[in-house]
Structure formats: C-alpha cells, structure tokens
C-alpha cells in the first residue's frame, strides 16, 4: 500500500478559510460581550497596533538581527468598536 502523505501546516492553512466559512454559516453564537459593553475595548490604548509605523520599524529591527520571523501579532482585534 502506498504511503499516505502527511498533512503539512501549509495545507492546513489552505483549508482554514473553508472551516471558518462553515463555522460562520451554522453557528448561532450569542455574543457574550454586548456592543454596549465594549467601551474599554474601544479605548485606543487597547489597540494591538496603536502606532503602526513604529511597530513595523521595531519588527524590522528585530527580524534583521534574529533568526526567527513571522506571526508578529499583526492580526487585529475582534473588537466591536464600530
């Protein structure tokens, strides 16, 4: 029997959007933090990227001197700030 290829992280990443779409379409989850309870989360000091130009520069300072890279946290906030 031919060996089965192992799933790689890359293939899992490619499948992730499909999984997210399925979750979004069939999950009637009630928000446990109501929009009117998000005052603190909407405060600018709670932003993961309060100063994008400064954060990007510091990422550059670190990545150009270190072996590691990626996943630096620039994935945003699911805050209902709008």
């Amino acid at each position: 029997m031919a060996p089965q290829p192992k799933p790689t992280l890359r293939s899992l990443l490619l499948l992730a959007p499909l999984a997210a779409g399925l979750l979004a379409g069939c999950s009637p989850i009630e928000p446990w933090v109501k929009p009117y309870e998000r005052e603190h989360l909407a405060d600018p000091i709670m932003s993961f990227e309060r100063d994008p130009v400064s954060g990007a520069y510091l990422d550059h300072v670190h990545e150009s001197r270190e072996g590691a890279r990626g996943a630096t946290g620039n994935v945003g906030g699911g805050c209902g700030c709008n």
């Binding site: 993961f48 906030g77 209902g80």
Partner: protein
C-alpha cells in the same frame, strides 16, 4: 549594500542586506491594518528612526499615509529610507567601513464588503546591490457578533542579489508566506489573538560577502572561506497575545512566540507591556522583550578545517544567543480647538535598549588569543524613534 574598498583578500562586505525582514514588516504595516468589518482611520505618520550599536549607525525616515475613498475603500502608501554607516564587528574583522542608502516604497488597498475586508498590495525595495519585490493579499472577517476576527494572508516575494566588485554575480531568491490569525474578545476587558505563519524561501539565501572561518596554519590560527547555505528554508511561527484593560484606565499586554525552521533554529520570544494615560494628554508606555534562539545546524564559530561541511555559516543571526530589550515611550496628544482638516495629532518618542549575548560567536577583534578561545561577543544597541501622527 556596501562597496568593498581597500585591498587584501578580506575586503568583503559583511553586512548582509536585511531588507527581506524589512519587507515582511512593511507587509504587516500596510497589509494587515484593516481588521474585519471596519476600515482603519485616515491618518499620516512621519517617523525618524535611529539605531546605534556595535559600531553601526542606521537612521532614516518612514512616512505612512492612509486615506479612505468612499465608504468601502482605503488606500495606504509607505515610503521608508535608511542610511547605514560605520563598521560592525563583521566589517572590522572581514571587510572595510562603508556607507549606503536603502529605500522602499509600498502601496496597498483595503476593500470593505459587509463584515469582510480584502487587502492587497505591492512593495518594492532597493539597495545598491539588492532588490526585492513583494506582493501580498489578505482577507479579514468579523464573526460571532464581532467578537471574533479571523484573517488569512499570503505573500510572494522575489529578490535579486548582486555583489559589488563582482559584476558577473547575479542570484535570485523566492519567498512565500501563508498566515492565519484569530483575534477574540474574551471579556469586556480582555482581548486575545493567535497567529500562525509558515514561510518558505528558495534560492540564494546567504550573504555573498560573509565568510566562515576554519582552523589553519595561518599565524593567527584561522583562515576564511566562503559560506554555503542550503537553498531552501521553511519556518513556522506560532504566536499568542493578550491585552487586558485595567480599571484605572491602563492596559497590560503579553505576547509569546515560538519559531522553528528547517535550518535547526528554534526561538522563543516573550514580551510584556504596560500602557498608562496620564495628565489628560499624555500616554506612557513601558515594554520588556526577551528573545533566545538555538543556532542553525550548519553554524559554527570555527570549523575544524576547510570544507569540513557541505553547508557552512558564521552569521550572527544564525548563532545561539539571548537578547533582552527594554523600551519606554511617551506620547502627547494635540486636540485642535476647531476641528477642520486635522482631527487630532500626537507627538511621540520611543526609546529601546537592546542587549545581545552570544553563546558561540567570538570577538575576533581581541588580539593574541588562540583561535577558538577569544571572548564571546556581546552587543548593546540604542534604538530611538521620534514620530508625529495626524488623524484627518
């Protein structure tokens, strides 16, 4: 990159262009600013930056402008420059002091449709003997009552590497990145995010100027040979981050990242930050960052003889080391009495002190020590940022 000058066999540049990292950071800057179902604010940022450490000074500017067009489109542009001068330990021991200028421009667009934001952009950077182009795209969507934001991103880069003094030398490298991010509102005071990113590089991944050293009959006890890197590299990074709102209006944030790649590098990064608004118009920040990594499997400070391995490296970036960074920031907000074009502005200062301690990278500037017994190298660096941000 620098032009070699002087004479003798060791006149190679030892400062590899690190624009790949710069472009990755820039992609983050212009590519992930939009989050799910809201477009980012219209703003402009002008940054002066200065890095000084290990005999090298790097300073320059970065200008970022972001502007909405209608209700569904936001455009962003960034122009970054820096100027490198001085002589790092690599230059002192293998090459000659130099100066060079680097620049990078990028353009991006974010399109908001419902709860989803689609982003794409292009980044172009150049040095005298290095050029890089990067294209990226991502999509973010708010889910579950806007408590969750999920982001998928991909980028592709193309590098062209040259070498001063060797006009016939031309090499290329391709880069591919895929990322997934999840940001979650956990409580009315707590945000958390997870990020996974895998990166692949293929082609000429080394610095044409850097060299490995090996034991020899030379009077100093060692000689140099060209480095040889593998032509492929795959890395995976996983990061978790949380930010908590404290009841006296302050924020505490923590961040951890794990990284591992096919070159044998394993790295851990931990960060802790505290943000405190005070005196009505001021915001103060304090940050601490700890980083450590294991060396690449083909790295050695001193190889036993010439050509002892098929892959050879003596780059500090691939050595085992520990790094501690401490940073402080202050921001003052200007609120115009009559808001016309300018909604608000901030004047910002940030200072970081970095300390590197290498486990197996020796300071060859020390004379008289037998090869392989020189003291281990340490590096202290100061990073200063002054920037103005304006919302309009």
């Amino acid at each position: 990159m620098k032009a070699p000058k002087g004479c003798g066999p060791a006149i190679h540049k030892a400062q590899r262009p690190q624009l790949g990292a710069l472009y990755a950071a820039a992609a983050a800057l212009v590519g992930t600013a939009a989050k799910g179902g809201v477009l980012p604010d219209d703003r402009a940022d002008l940054l002066y930056h200065s890095y000084s450490g290990g005999g090298v000074t790097i300073n320059g500017t970065s200008l970022l402008v972001r502007k909405k067009v209608g209700d569904h489109v936001s455009l962003v542009g960034n122009w970054y420059t820096d100027s490198v001068s001085g002589a790092s330990i690599d230059v002192v021991t293998q090459a000659s002091p130099y100066k060079e200028k680097r620049s990078q421009g990028s353009l991006g667009v974010d399109l908001l449709l419902g709860k989803a934001t689609y982003s794409a952009g292009y980044i172009n950077g150049s040095e005298p003997d290095f050029r890089s182009r990067t294209a990226y795209a991502s999509v973010s969507e708010d889910l579950f009552g806007d408590l969750t934001t999920i982001t998928f991103g991909a980028s592709r880069g193309w590098d062209k590497i040259g070498e001063r003094g060797a006009p016939d030398f031309k090499a290329t490298a391709d880069r591919r990145n895929w990322s997934v991010g999840l940001s979650q509102v956990l409580t009315r005071n707590l945000l958390a995010s997870l990020a996974v990113e895998t990166s692949e590089s293929e082609g000429y991944l080394q610095n044409p100027y850097r060299q490995a050293r090996y034991l020899s009959g030379d009077p100093r006890g060692y000689s140099y040979e060209k480095e040889a890197y593998p032509h492929t590299r795959t890395g995976n990074a996983f990061a978790a981050r949380a930010k908590y709102y404290l009841r006296w209006r302050a924020a505490l944030d923590g961040n951890y990242r794990y990284y591992r790649d096919t070159w044998g590098i394993v790295a851990h990064t931990a960060e802790l930050g505290y943000t405190l608004p005070a005196f009505h118009r001021w915001v103060f920040d304090a940050h601490a960052r700890y980083y450590r990594q294991k060396q690449a499997s083909f790295y050695a400070d001193l190889f036993p003889y010439q050509g002892s391995q098929n892959f050879l490296a003596r780059d500090r970036e691939l050595a085992a080391f520990k790094e501690l960074g401490l940073g402080f920031g202050a921001s003052w907000e200007l609120r115009p009495r009559h808001r016309g074009l300018l909604q608000k502005a901030t004047f910002n200062l940030r200072y970081d002190n970095l300390r590197f301690k290498y486990d197996d990278f020796r300071d060859l500037r020390v004379q008289g020590a037998a090869a392989g017994t020189e003291p281990l190298y340490t590096l202290k660096a100061n990073v200063l940022q002054l920037y103005v941000s304006a919302w309009f």
